[in-house]
């Protein structure tokens, strides 16, 4: 049984989803129908943040979004992060910062964290440590203990500041 086709704009590109089963989350559609497996499926119950995307600019858990109900909305995933960064190069500043700070181990939490950190720095360009911790409190990481991640946020904030000046 499948629903009516609907359109989404994902990473700036319009896509049409056919043959969706009712109940499919945006996470499922991104990963299994649109060839964008960057957003991750660590829990699919909104408790880990690994599926985080921007939906019309808001940072949300894509596993909790009914894909068909997001019709005509704008979605940005980790695969589209570099395009949203005005800086040069194939990597967004947050991506470069994570690489340079050694904030990636197994990497499963990384896409969701990148989306959360990017969202944070858009709202608050110079966040203190507590603000950063609260902003990423919805993203679980099991490998790093968050230490190098906090360093990466510092680095990214500096990169963004310098790019602006």
């Amino acid at each position: 049984m499948s629903g009516d086709p609907y359109r989404l704009t994902v990473n700036g590109r319009p896509v049409e989803v056919f043959d969706g089963h009712p109940g499919e989350s945006l996470l499922f559609v991104l990963r299994e129908r649109l060839g964008l497996p960057g957003s991750k499926n660590a829990c699919e119950e909104g408790e880990c943040g690994s599926c985080s995307v921007r939906l019309d600019g808001d940072l949300v858990c894509s596993c909790l979004v009914l894909a068909a109900a997001a019709a005509d909305r704008q979605v940005v995933t980790v695969e589209g992060l570099a395009d949203t960064d005005d800086g040069a190069g194939p990597l967004a500043d947050v991506q470069r910062a994570f690489v340079e700070a050694g904030a990636v181990q197994c990497g499963f939490c990384t896409p969701g964290l990148l989306m959360a950190v990017d969202a944070l720095l858009c709202d608050e360009p110079d966040p203190g440590e507590l603000t950063v911790r609260e902003a990423i409190s919805g993203n679980l990481c099991r490998c790093t203990g968050y230490g190098r991640i906090l360093e990466a946020v510092d680095k990214a904030a500096t990169m963004r500041r310098e790019a602006r000046s």
Partner: protein, 285 residues
């Protein structure tokens, strides 16, 4: 799948199919769907209806749109009007959950641990329901009727929640075993209404539904020096805490024991009272 753009659209869609599933933020529903615990076929999405967003001030009352998100309620502009609701909203889930979860959803899910509910019961909130047949209002304790049970009838939608604007201190506390992203083990809202000379206490996660600690309220309301402005005595604070603890009807479950819940509710009662009356640093509680 109906994406409703107006309240009338939504009511009409629900009238046409009363078994349809209403979807706002999805933070409760989609967990069940992803687990396979709930199969959905016909969905009425209500997250794009302007009448459900935002809030309006009507004299000494706030009409809060059912579609207001936790993030919006935690925003200082709104939180200043209903501080306990703003504080409670900030404790919900994670930033991602707060961006899409709604007060209407919290009401409809009617979980004993719902973070908005102790505040709403303390504020004597009134819920407005609408269907294609008309509208009605229910006080909160007639809307949340049991564990995950609400009084919505087929075809009905929650439209607004009305709460008073009280010009007094408000506190909200939530106990959980982690510093973020926790289902409350026990929670408490305390609101002071200087004009009405009442202190109202709402309790969460200690009964099938949110509770008021009426005996405690009456006791402390009679002890506070409303005219002179002096704080309650240490003895009053202790007694207040005891009466609030007595009002709780908690159970043992995998998140906590009844004994622990009863104990912490008493502690939170004392602490919120002390905070509300500016006694922090004086009487130890």
């Amino acid at each position: 799948m109906t994406i409703a753009r107006t309240l009338d659209d939504a009511c009409a869609a629900l009238a046409a199919d009363p078994t349809a599933t209403v979807l706002a933020g999805g933070t409760d529903l989609m967990v069940q769907v992803n687990r396979g615990d709930r199969i959905i076929s016909n969905v009425v999405a209500i997250d794009r209806i302007p009448e459900l967003r935002g809030w309006t001030r009507e004299g000494d009352f706030l009409e809060i749109g059912a579609g207001m998100t936790y993030a919006e309620m935690a925003d200082p502009g709104f939180a200043a009007l209903v501080p306990a609701l703003g504080q409670a909203a900030r404790t919900v889930g994670s930033p991602q959950i707060r961006a899409t979860g709604t007060i209407g959803g919290n009401l409809a899910t009617a979980s004993p641990a719902g973070d908005m509910l102790p505040v709403l019961v303390a504020l004597d909130a009134v819920v407005e329901l609408r269907s294609s047949n008309g509208r009605r209002h229910l006080p909160l304790d007639e809307f949340v009727v049991g564990v995950k049970a609400n009084a919505l009838t087929a075809g009905e939608l929650i439209v607004t929640v009305r709460v008073p604007v009280l010009h007094g201190p408000q506190e909200f506390m939530k106990v959980g075993p982690r510093n973020a992203m926790v289902i409350s083990v026990a929670s408490l809202a305390l609101v002071v209404d200087p004009a009405g000379r009442t202190v109202r206490v709402g309790l969460g996660s200690v009964a099938p539904v949110p509770l008021r600690a009426t005996e405690a309220e009456v006791m402390i309301g009679g002890r506070i020096d409303w005219d002179g402005g002096g704080p309650p005595t240490t003895g009053d604070v202790d007694r207040f805490g005891q009466l609030v603890a007595d009002a709780a009807r908690p159970i043992d479950d995998h998140r906590g024991t009844a004994a622990y819940r009863r104990h912490v509710v008493g502690v939170m009662a004392q602490r919120t009272l002390v905070r509300a009356f500016g006694m922090v640093g004086e009487a130890a509680a």
